[in-house]
Symmetry: C2
Subunit: 310 residues, 2 copies
Amino acid sequence: MTLNILFAAGAARWQDYQMPLREGLAEAEIDANLSLDLDPAEVDYIVYAPDSDLQDFTPYTRCKAVLNLWAGVEGITNNATLTQPLARMVDPGLTQGMVEWVTGHVLRHHLDIDYALARQDGTWDRYVPPLASDRPVTILGMGELGAACAQALVGLGFPVTGWSRRGKAVDGVTMLSGDEGLDEALSSAQILVLLLPKTPGTVNLIDAAALSKLPEGAVIVNPGRGPLIDDDALLAALESGHVRHATLDVFRVEPLPADHPYWAHPRVTVTPHIASETRAASAARVVVENIRRGEADEPFLHLVDRDQGY
Amino acid sequence: MTLNILFAAGAARWQDYQMPLREGLAEAEIDANLSLDLDPAEVDYIVYAPDSDLQDFTPYTRCKAVLNLWAGVEGITNNATLTQPLARMVDPGLTQGMVEWVTGHVLRHHLDIDYALARQDGTWDRYVPPLASDRPVTILGMGELGAACAQALVGLGFPVTGWSRRGKAVDGVTMLSGDEGLDEALSSAQILVLLLPKTPGTVNLIDAAALSKLPEGAVIVNPGRGPLIDDDALLAALESGHVRHATLDVFRVEPLPADHPYWAHPRVTVTPHIASETRAASAARVVVENIRRGEADEPFLHLVDRDQGY
């Protein structure tokens, strides 16, 4: 039987994904009709991105699963027409890219590379940073991405504290959870990395009260979700110097408007949502594996818990 | 018997080392008279730094070993009055600091963090770097420091090639040696890290011919020794763009003179010899361990091969 697989993630992504998907399906010996345009009633699987034109899932009566190409699913979990199982993307390439970005920026702030770059004026000013073992890092959010980043930072010698609602354990990481755990996680964080999903419980989690619990001179690195941070509170904490620097990759509105105060702020580094990027080659393998599982009546990977929102 | 241990590494370092050395000796139950000033004929061990006032070792007739606080020994190996065993410092703190500095700057160049820092002008320009797995790094010099850096970079997913005269093997690292090996190591190096000692065979190793073997747009990171690089050749390669950037921590003359072209060059980052810094706490433990070995007639750690110069 030939499977009908609808690619509903936009024509631009079709360029990147068509070949890796076709190759993966062939390798898995799945006979499939992969297309941008199929009769909804005959679609077996939907390869999806939340910015797709497809927003009404009602006519896809035969569809066994919606396979998201993004890690973030907040743009789709509220869609009442979506009754099919929804899998989010856990792309090893995306995870690896996130580990590199987070490790790079944590080391940048740890070593104060910005200071070195700003002192190319002939001044031989020997600032030797402490060792990583004296630089506690806290990661809020210990899902796939947070756990992988924690592991890399532990490997480099940083004392890492992880905070997570579900409290997943990671070797060498001090795990905390709950409100009290959050206070403790914040109070020791010389560098705070935000890798929480956007849920009703995490929006504005980093508000004035949370920021005040950070040690003086802490650095914030946010490759997670823009709304985790109360922007006005962060700007105030940067103004007072309580927060030494913020490196932000995600924002409430993207692209970040050119007149947003973050752009010109000397203590803020804006990066244009580049920390987590799904890579077509590895992501296509995950999509194909989920289709194989669906056909073999095995449980899907990375199913979204619709009640929790991720 | 009370050992006489002369601290001949300057009064400034005495501040940092006195306590850790005394504590370490007490812990090892070594009865010692540690001092800045002792009768040469009665000295059992010398804790040393090459910038010391002590340059004539002739009167130290009883001395069993000279224990250097620096990793580099080129300032002392030519001293004909030094006939005692000479141990260089292999400080786990120094190694760890070097790993952090090298990993931080390799990731900085890999992610092109400089580009992000230069684009804080409101332009949402999504540059997504390749994954580390597509960014070959070559390390010249696979001693303690090179091997530790190689291991950290392999852990982050970089394909690492190591080149070394002695050809030490490191898990996950492609090892090369000899002239032909050097050509191969250079030709694949998108990022080239120099961690060779300064010896007659390594001075100006990175000359115009070597630079021409690097792929177009390679980056050089030198936390090893200044004279490894032919400075004029590097400036020419930077000018032509063949070398995209050089991050240099060590120089022929230090402090690097304020009018040296490296300071103002847009493609050069100067850091003031901060990559490798001996840390008193961990270095004192190494010194004490060598004294313990000397007294127990066990072989000294990290003895210098005077013929090789390191």
